[in-house]
């Protein structure tokens, strides 16, 4: 029996999981239209490879990974691309994003695809293959899977000791992982073996919360059948045990250091659905085209559906038959999910659950009261934070203090908001503070950059000025030296001659006939003087005349 560890805090919200586990995973019928966003993963958007009017096959690459953190996007079925344009997507900001609209032809015609002999392949090739297969973490973060499989740089002697498969699924209502484990355990286990091979990991631990006995039994059976030395570990049901850091703590007793990755302590963690996708990609050559989605809440028939990526959420809802008093829809779980501004958005790789909500199911919280520092939030915080203090700093915009009190170690699980008797939306305050700090840091970076550039420009000017001055001084010095040198030797005859000539010329242009004028000239001068006198008198009389 393995010793399990605990993390601080955690909460026990009502599970509400049984509603959606009554019937097996159903395949969603082919929708009439698919809207496939080019960014369904963490990181850079994929670059479109198709144009409107192109015919595509199921599984055809339509979006190329673009950038280090990026992943591929595929046509979920065969059909015609109707448009490549901005479409509304499920995002808190409500901003549209670049999507391909695909009109299915109903034939589900596949591109040629085949299994990969992963045991005979180079891990780097396999990572590239997974990147082009669009395999991303399906636990919620949708981080490109291949990046998590890279060898540890800078740690030549360290390797992954423990590979953890996360089957905790601690959010209420969501059962997509539960059902996947019940029905496709063997594939998940094979996928785990592929991940283990690529990571060269030691032990493989599969953590599942004890509220999923069927999934636990199925996974245990699959591990036994496979003959692999994996261990299925039952963990207590407590939210948020499915958070990677918390699950690692429960299973290994290790804490991922603040600001570091699990690999820094020799652990890597994948969601079981990711493991399943890896299996489909390597064993069948199938890129990630669909996922399991729980449709639950205020619906007539809660169930899990296998849904093609890009399927409009409203078609999922129509299939679940929402009850009449449904007034909003939540994507994700009730703890960390978000309310959809519109149901006319596509289902993406991150979409694990759609909850039809009514005021009866999720009563709106009463208006927030002031914090009374009851510390229930601190008691519930799985990151050992002091949410009441962080709230104080966030609302007074004392972001420096908030950072000093480890704001960025908050995993935004919502446990603090859940227990708050004053119903303060604590997580939103923390998200706000984080985004403000990030924005400020970016501004600061930009300002620093601008200042650096300015300072360099000034420096350059100064340098150029100095260089010019030095050049000038050097020139002057050279001239002076040349002159001094020439003075030391005899003056050049040509120069001397020129000087003499100039002197002669100056002598010839001296004024003449001013001292001794001829008599004729004298009479001319007298005549001119008489005229001038006459004009002066005229001017005088006219002035007197006007005076009168």
């Amino acid at each position: 029996m393995r010793t399990l560890y605990q993390f601080h805090g955690g909460i026990h919200p009502t599970g509400n999981k049984t509603q959606s586990t009554q019937c097996p995973i159903a395949r969603m019928p082919l929708p009439s239209r698919l809207v496939i966003p080019f960014r369904q993963h963490a990181g850079e958007s994929a670059k479109p490879l198709v144009r409107a009017g192109d015919r595509v096959l199921k599984g055809q690459l339509i979006g190329m990974p673009d950038g280090f953190v990026s992943s591929a996007v595929h046509a979920s079925t065969s059909g015609t691309i109707a448009a490549i344009d901005m479409q509304p997507i499920a995002h808190p900001s409500g901003m549209p994003d670049l999507c391909a609209t695909l009109i299915p032809d109903g034939r589900e015609e596949w591109v040629p695809h085949a299994a990969v002999d992963y045991l005979g392949s180079d891990p780097a090739e396999l990572r590239q293959y997974l990147r082009l297969s669009g395999v991303v973490g399906l636990g919620g973060a949708v981080f490109p899977c291949d990046l998590k499989l890279r060898p540890l740089r800078g740690h030549p002697n360290r390797s992954i000791c423990t590979l953890i498969l996360n089957g905790a699924e601690c959010e209420p209502y969501i059962t997509c992982d539960d059902m996947l484990m019940r029905e496709r355990a063997a594939e998940i286990v094979q996928g785990a073996e592929m991940l283990r091979f690529m990571l060269e990991a030691g032990e493989v631990l599969i953590g599942i919360e004890d509220n999923k006995p069927e999934a636990i039994a199925a996974m245990r059976q699959a591990v036994t059948d496979s003959g692999l030395p994996f261990e299925v570990i039952v963990v207590p049901t407590i939210y948020p045990s499915g958070s990677a850091k918390q699950l690692i703590r429960i299973l290994t007793g290790l804490e991922v250091p603040s600001g570091k990755l699990p690999t820094d302590i020799g652990v890597q963690c994948f969601n079981i659905a990711t493991s399943y996708s890896v299996y489909r990609a390597l064993a069948h050559g199938e890129p990630l085209l669909s996922r399991i989605v729980t449709v639950t809440g205020n619906v007539r028939q809660a169930q899990n559906l296998e849904v093609l990526l890009g399927t409009p959420v409203q078609e999922l809802i129509a299939l679940g038959e929402a009850l009449p008093d449904t007034n909003r829809y939540i994507m994700g779980g009730p703890m960390m999910g978000m309310e959809l501004a519109s149901t006319d958005v596509p289902l993406v790789k991150a979409g694990n659950c759609i909850i039809a909500a009514s005021d009866k199911l999720f009563p709106p919280a009463p208006p927030a009261l002031p914090c009374i520092r009851c510390t229930r939030c601190a008691q519930a915080c799985p990151a050992d934070l002091q949410p009441m203090d962080l709230y104080w700093f966030a609302q007074s915009r004392d972001f420096g203090k908030a950072q000093a009190f480890s704001l960025f170690d908050c995993i935004e699980c919502g446990s603090c908001s859940y227990v708050c008797p004053s119903h303060i939306p604590l997580v939103q305050y923390f998200q706000f503070a984080k985004s403000e700090i990030r924005a400020r840091e970016q501004e600061k970076k930009a300002a620093d950059h601008a200042r650096e550039r300015h300072e360099f420009r000034e420096y350059r000017f100064e340098r150029e000025k100095q260089e010019k001055a030095e050049k000038l001084a050097a020139k002057e010095r050279a001239v002076r030296e040349a002159v001094a040198a020439s003075a030391a030797t005899s003056p050049q005859p040509e120069i001397q001659a020129a000087i003499d000539r100039a002197k002669e010329q100056a002598a010839t242009v001296e004024p003449k006939n001013t001292d001794n004028p001829t008599p004729q000239q004298q009479s001319e001068i007298a005549g001119i003087e008489a005229q001038r006198e006459h004009i002066r008198e005229l001017a005088k009389s006219s002035v007197e005349h006007t005076k009168d």
């Binding site: 993390f7 603040s258 999910g337 208006p367 009261l369 002031p370 002091q386 708050c420 008797p421």
Partner: protein
């Protein structure tokens, strides 16, 4: 209206928490009525009305919504704690002035619910005992100990009109508290055994008052069981008080009362479970709570035994309230994934 996750929450409210505190006071109040008569109910009613009235007035002056805050029950808790701390036979205006001061000055002028650095009830008590020391000594004698016992109507007449029945003096119906008596008589060099032989003393402490304290312990257990409070403050406060009193008692049993006497005298048990545990004015960290409670326990004993006031809980609470921000700053817990780092 946009709604944010989490969409579910625990059905707990400030109002419900404060109501549980009021409920937890009921056993103590019931025993109070049993031993001292119904005069306490009059003070509780006066305190409640004043608390709610002052709260509403201050909210209006501060342009805050009145209804949600009146419903949070926090003003009632302040009023009740103050009423239980002062003599029930005191003139009506004493509790009114005290409660109004607590709510208007100590609570609202510092920002209202959740923002007051000092325990409103204890600050109100401090103002009363400094301003009206005479009225604050009119402790009613428990059943069977007073020379005369007043009926409820006669008590009402005294509280509101200050009129006693003919031929009855105030001394005949009131007495000094057991803590006060002990201190005065020890000053007069009376042996402790002889003091405790007086009829006002019961098994552990004062006749009657020890039973009321027991009622508060019951309520305290209820608060612990319903997780309104944690064990840290009551256990460490009472532990420290016990330890300090025990050391003095062992060193000099002729002059220092036994630790249990200190537990069951005055406001020690009310303070341990109801006053020091006020979330707003006590530290938020576990380690901080331990330091805070230990400091309060030590100060309570020192003020009781060596100070000028008969009881020390109120002043100990206020002095420790002062230290809370510093205590909290230096007792921050370790954050997940961080070793030995402090903000």
């Amino acid at each position: 209206m946009a709604l944010f996750s989490p969409f579910v929450s625990k059905p707990d409210t400030v109002s419900r928490i404060m109501f549980k505190v009021l409920l937890a006071l009921v056993p103590g109040i019931a025993l109070y009525v049993w031993y001292y008569g119904p005069a306490i109910l009059v003070s509780l009613t006066l305190a409640s009305l004043t608390a709610l009235g002052t709260e509403a007035l201050m909210l209006k002056l501060r342009n805050r919504p009145i209804a949600p805050f009146l419903k949070d029950n926090s003003a009632l808790v302040t009023g009740w704690l103050l009423a239980l701390s002062i003599p029930s036979l005191a003139p009506w205006w004493l509790i009114v002035v005290g409660t109004a001061f607590s709510i208007a000055i100590v609570k609202h002028l510092y920002g209202g619910l959740g923002n007051n650095p000092f325990s409103p009830a204890m600050a109100g008590f401090a103002v009363l005992i400094i301003s009206f020391p005479v009225q604050m000594t009119q402790w009613i004698s428990p059943h069977g100990l007073g020379a005369v016992e007043l009926g409820f109507l006669e008590q009402l007449e005294y509280i509101f009109l200050g009129v006693l029945p003919p031929n009855v003096s105030l001394d005949a119906i009131t007495m000094a508290t057991p803590l006060d008596t002990l201190k005065t008589r020890l000053h007069l060099e009376e042996p402790i055994k002889q003091i405790f032989a007086m009829p006002i003393y019961g098994r552990l402490a004062g006749q009657g008052s020890e039973m009321v304290s027991l009622g508060f312990v019951l309520g305290g257990f209820y608060l612990l069981a319903t997780r309104v409070i944690t064990w840290h403050i009551p256990v460490v406060f009472l532990g420290t008080l016990f330890a300090v009193a025990g050391i003095f008692h062992l060193a000099d049993p002729l002059h220092y009362a036994a630790p249990l006497f200190h537990w069951f005298s005055g406001a020690a048990l009310l303070g341990a479970f109801f006053i020091l545990t006020d979330p707003v004015t006590s530290p938020t960290t576990y380690k901080g709570k331990l330091i805070y409670a230990a400091g309060a326990g030590l100060l309570t004993y020192l003020i009781r035994v060596f100070g000028n006031f008969p009881d020390g809980v109120a002043f100990a609470t206020l002095l420790m309230n002062l230290c809370v921000p510093l205590i909290v700053l230096y007792t921050q817990p370790r954050v997940f994934g961080k070793k030995g780092e402090r903000p």
